[in-house]
């Protein structure tokens, strides 16, 4: 498949890096240095030019392209790129936008702007933040199979009851599969006798109830649920959507915004949120409002450094868990190392979402673990799949190492995969795969 990516920023490059092995990728950007760099670092064709011009698109081979991904930092540019591509070709168009108004317009008709698929950075980032709420110690949570299956990544600390236990000891839930253990940046596929060490991250796949139960069992001191007190710092678009989505789930979050006008605007739009007009670094204010008692603090200010500062301050005041929005993707690990509990990069989230669309082999849904060390895929099994009609014990032999079948849903019913479970065509299977074998595995399933 020939894919044209317009915009070689973090999102564009990240998608290009994901696709270059399996697809013919052309990437377009105005910055000659970046173009040069990509030509050397990735196995792609990088072209310098304006993606909104037909000439550039033709140079990129638009007439042979199957897909155009517009991923520049500018909403309007992305929309025009897709509209232009649609006008001169029949390629599938994907646009990344920040403004949710465009998303709403597009959802209204699904044809608007000549865009076939639209991803909204702010909304996706907010959704991934909100998924973490209510699951203590969770770093990342992704829903699969229409919400019947959840993948979650947990950090195990010294005090956790599962620390220094073997996986079979820790596995107290029927419908839960231990997919992987991440230790010092390396991915290990666990076996029953693998010992979980403090500092490890555990990736589990299972029904939402069992994931919730596991979350509670590894950090029993924290109380999940709607009683959880959430403070959001910064009324950015992401902050707004986090508050809105939490309201929908029955939370009553507090939102701090410094700008009086924006605060008023947010207060009008968010009936279930207590909006406060204050600087989040005003210690007096934070103490007076008992911000330190919060279970979770989301910092969604417009600068990474401020978010780091606010998160660290909040942690010192006693906030149980901090989530920071981090614009610069490479900072995520750094921030998590110095004390932010969960770092969410909107760009990474968007890159994941776009990658799911470009997968061959019918992956319905994809989640990236640790940026790109492993992936969790959701696949609808058809008759040609190596999984179909065989017990899992047999079918795994035709799959490479580093693959775990995490969960199965049949007609929206959750089935726990065990060695003798027979997968039928039409089942949805959630699979964990090490990134080194993903390219191999995806076509076989």
């Amino acid at each position: 498949m020939r894919v044209i990516i317009v915009g070689a920023g973090q999102v564009g490059s990240s998608i290009a890096a994901d696709l270059d092995a399996t697809h013919e990728v052309v990437i377009v950007d105005c910055d000659p240095e970046r173009v040069d760099e990509l030509n050397y670092s990735l196995d792609v064709l990088a072209i310098r030019g304006d993606g909104t011009s037909v000439d550039t698109l033709e140079e990129a081979g638009i007439e042979r392209a199957d897909m155009v991904i517009a991923s520049t930092d500018d909403d309007e540019t992305n929309i025009v790129v897709c509209a232009t591509a649609k006008a001169v070709s029949s390629a599938f168009t994907i646009a990344r936008v920040k403004n949710t108004e465009y998303l709403r317009t597009w959802q209204h008709s699904e044809k608007a702007f000549g865009i076939d698929f639209m991803v909204c950075t702010n909304l996706l980032a907010a959704e991934s933040i909100v998924r973490v709420v209510g699951l203590p110690a969770a770093r990342d949570v992704d829903p699969f199979a229409g919400g019947e299956v959840q993948m979650a990544e947990f950090e195990v600390d010294d005090n956790s009851p599962v620390a220094n236990q073997t996986v079979s000891e820790a596995d107290r839930f029927d419908s839960l599969t231990f997919a992987a253990i991440l230790r010092n940046g390396a991915v290990t596929i666990p076996r029953g006798d693998t010992i979980i060490r403090p500092g490890d991250r555990v990736v589990v796949i299972g029904s939402p109830q069992s994931v919730q139960g596991f979350a509670t069992s590894i950090s029993p001191d924290e109380s999940p649920g709607t009683a959880e007190e959430v403070v959001i710092v910064g009324g950015s678009e992401i902050g707004y959507h986090v508050a809105r989505l939490l309201e929908e789930r029955g939370f009553k979050p507090r939102l701090l915004e410094q700008d009086p006008e924006r605060a008023r605007e947010l207060a009008e739009q968010l009936p279930g949120t207590i909006v406060m007009e204050s600087d989040a670094t005003d210690i007096d204010f934070l103490e007076r409002e008992y911000i330190g008692d919060a279970d979770l603090l989301v910092s969604a200010l417009d600068s990474d450094e401020k978010n780091l500062l606010v998160s660290l301050l909040a942690a010192r005041l006693g906030v149980e868990r901090t989530v920071a929005v981090i614009d610069t993707t490479p900072y995520v690990d750094l921030f998590e190392a110095v004390g932010v509990d969960v770092g969410v990069s909107p760009r990474e989230v968007v890159a994941e979402e776009i990658t799911r669309f470009t997968r061959e082999g019918g992956a319905e849904n994809v989640a990236l673990i640790e940026s790109d060390k492993a992936e969790v895929l959701e696949i609808e099994v058809d008759a040609d799949s190596v999984l179909a009609g065989r017990p899992i014990r047999e079918s795994v032999t035709s799959l490479p190492e580093g693959v775990v079948i995490g969960a199965i849903t049949r007609q929206r019913e959750f089935i726990t995969p065990r060695g003798d479970t027979v997968i039928e065509p039409g089942d949805h299977v959630v699979v964990f795969a090490d990134s080194s074998v993903v390219g191999d595995v995806a076509p076989k399933l």
Binding site: I274, M276, E277
Partner: protein, 534 residues
């Protein structure tokens, strides 16, 4: 000093409205012809309205209406129609030399102040009367019909009607309607303001006709012996505007329980925002059920009625002795007690009827609530300040204002504990503009100040002429005229009248009714120098 208000443009439009007042005057004229009564009161008045109207129209060519001209036009219109509308009463009372049959020397409306009071009370849908004797012995049927018709014209608003019909008023019509409409702000139902005005009047007319038909069919089926065609029309014309001018001296007490039950829902409808009926008719009936103001309105009526019904049922709310200084008909009181105490239907009906009548500011009475105890009367006095919904024909402060005030007070309590919190006041989920909240506070405060000052003035003036008014009576008289309710307590009770007040008090109450109908500010602003200068 150079005036910055184009008063000629305003007066010109007043002239246009006056000119067309001749059209509704045809209705009592037809009634007069039907009953063989004198047509002169109406013919003369028609001539006056047309002549004065045309005269005023010559003041300006193409009126350009701004916000200030709008206030002047609306306030002047209401005063002008009152002046002209009093003419039939005066002619009837004084008689016309060569039509002796029309002479009613016993009519109290011969006094120009009384005639003015009665007309202002009519147009503002107050329903406070100075008729000495409400009967067809003292007044012709046609003149009584004119009295009822003034209320119907004033209900949805003379200016709204004018905007609906007169193309001259399409530009600036929203300004005018805003100055006249009850409640804060108007809701544009359609892009064109004239269509909105027509929609409102359409709903108003439709409900009026429906009520007349229902009341008359009660009569035809034998369920309401007194409700003949004349009475059905008269009550239709005075229920929907929340007016309360009944041609019966005993008000709705003169009719059967069935008729009273039929009138209740129409009073409730009259106190509802008419824009909601429009939404119901255009296929959005959910808007009615979801409306916060409508729900609060029904809730308030329900709660007060329930308390009152319990009080009446147990008999605790009824006094067995006459109020001080009055000889009460003990026989009547005993009748009331035996009818109410321990009887569910009459207790419910009497409480609901009176509460709905007072809250919507209709001012009908299905019994003389002077016979109730003082606490229940204070309860009703309190209800006089509630009023109907915004955009209804009801008067007083209006539910939506109270709702916003309560919510903003709750917000104040919250921000006292959390000074940084930003909390918009929400009305049905939508944030209310802070300026609108300030306006609501200003209006309500002005209303209450006006109430207390006027009570003092009226009480003093009553003492001057030795009227012997109690404080409750003075308060109720002011609340009833300022809130366009109509009856109060004591001598101004539902079966009494405002006749005994001095001329100065009556003139003062004329101003109160005028200000109450236009919600004070459009009238008050005319008396500030800032309005006239820059």
């Amino acid at each position: 000093m150079k005036l910055r208000v184009d008063y000629k443009a305003s007066l010109r439009l007043v002239g246009t409205v006056l000119k067309y007042l001749a059209v509704p005057l045809c209705f009592p004229l037809v009634v007069a012809l039907y009953y063989g009564e004198s047509v002169l009161p109406f013919v003369v008045t028609m001539a006056v309205t047309v002549l004065v109207g045309i005269g005023l129209e010559r003041l300006a060519d193409e009126p350009d209406i701004g916000a200030r001209e709008g206030f002047l036009m609306v306030a002047t219109t209401w005063f002008a129609v009152t002046l002209v509308g009093a003419i039939p009463f005066l002619i009837e009372a004084h008689g016309v030399p060569f039509v002796t049959s029309a002479i009613h020397p016993e009519s109290t409306l011969g006094n120009p102040v009384n005639a003015l009071f009665e007309t202002m009370s009519g147009f503002t849908t107050t329903g406070a009367t100075v008729l000495g004797d409400i009967s067809f012995e003292s007044h012709t049927r046609s003149i009584m019909m004119w009295r009822q018709l003034t209320q119907w014209l004033g209900g949805m608003g003379i200016v709204v009607l004018a905007v609906a019909i007169l193309p001259e008023l399409s530009v600036g019509g929203a300004q005018l309607m805003d100055a006249e409409a009850p409640g804060p702000g108007i809701e544009k139902l359609t892009p064109r303001i004239a269509e909105t005005a027509r929609a409102l009047w359409g709903a108003y007319l439709g409900l009026t006709v429906l009520e007349i038909v229902l009341l008359y069919s009660l009569h035809v089926t034998g369920n309401a012996p007194n409700m003949d065609v004349y009475n059905a029309i008269a009550h239709g014309l005075t229920t929907m505007p929340t007016g309360g001018f009944s041609p019966e001296a005993r008000s709705i007490e003169a009719f059967s329980a069935a008729a009273q039950w039929v009138i209740i829902p129409f009073m409730v409808a009259a106190g509802t925002n008419f824009a909601l009926f429009w939404h119901v008719l255009t296929g959005e009936p959910k808007r009615l059920v979801r409306d916060t103001e409508f729900k609060s309105y029904l809730g308030i009526i329900g709660v007060i009625s329930a308390i009152l019904a319990a009080v009446l049922f147990l008999g605790d709310g009824l006094v067995s002795v006459a109020p001080a200084g009055e000889t009460y008909d003990q026989f009547y009181l005993e009748g009331v007690r035996t009818a109410l105490i321990g009887n569910v239907e009459p207790s419910l009906r009497q409480s609901i009827f009176q509460v709905v009548s007072i809250v919507t500011t209709t001012g009908y009475a299905s019994m003389d609530f002077n016979a109730w105890s003082a606490p229940t009367q204070y309860g009703l006095l309190f209800a006089m300040f509630i009023g109907g919904s915004a955009g209804s024909t009801g008067g007083a402060i209006k539910i939506v204002r109270w709702y916003v005030i309560l919510k903003s007070l709750r917000r104040e309590l919250f921000t006292t504990a959390h000074p940084e919190a930003i909390r918009p006041v929400r009305l049905a989920g939508r944030a209310v503009d802070e300026r609108a909240i300030r306006g609501i506070y200003a209006f309500t405060l002005l209303y209450l100040v006006l109430f207390f000052v006027s009570t003092g003035l009226l009480h003093l003036d009553a003492a001057r002429i030795d009227l012997g008014l109690s404080v409750l009576e003075s308060m109720s008289a002011v609340a009833a005229t300022l809130g366009n309710v109509g009856p109060g307590f004591g001598i101004v009770g539902p079966m009494g009248s405002y006749l005994d007040f001095s001329n100065s008090s009556k003139l003062y109450m004329v101003i109160l009714m005028w200000m109450g109908r236009l919600e004070i500010l459009p009238v008050f602003v005319l008396f500030t120098p800032e309005y006239w200068r820059r």
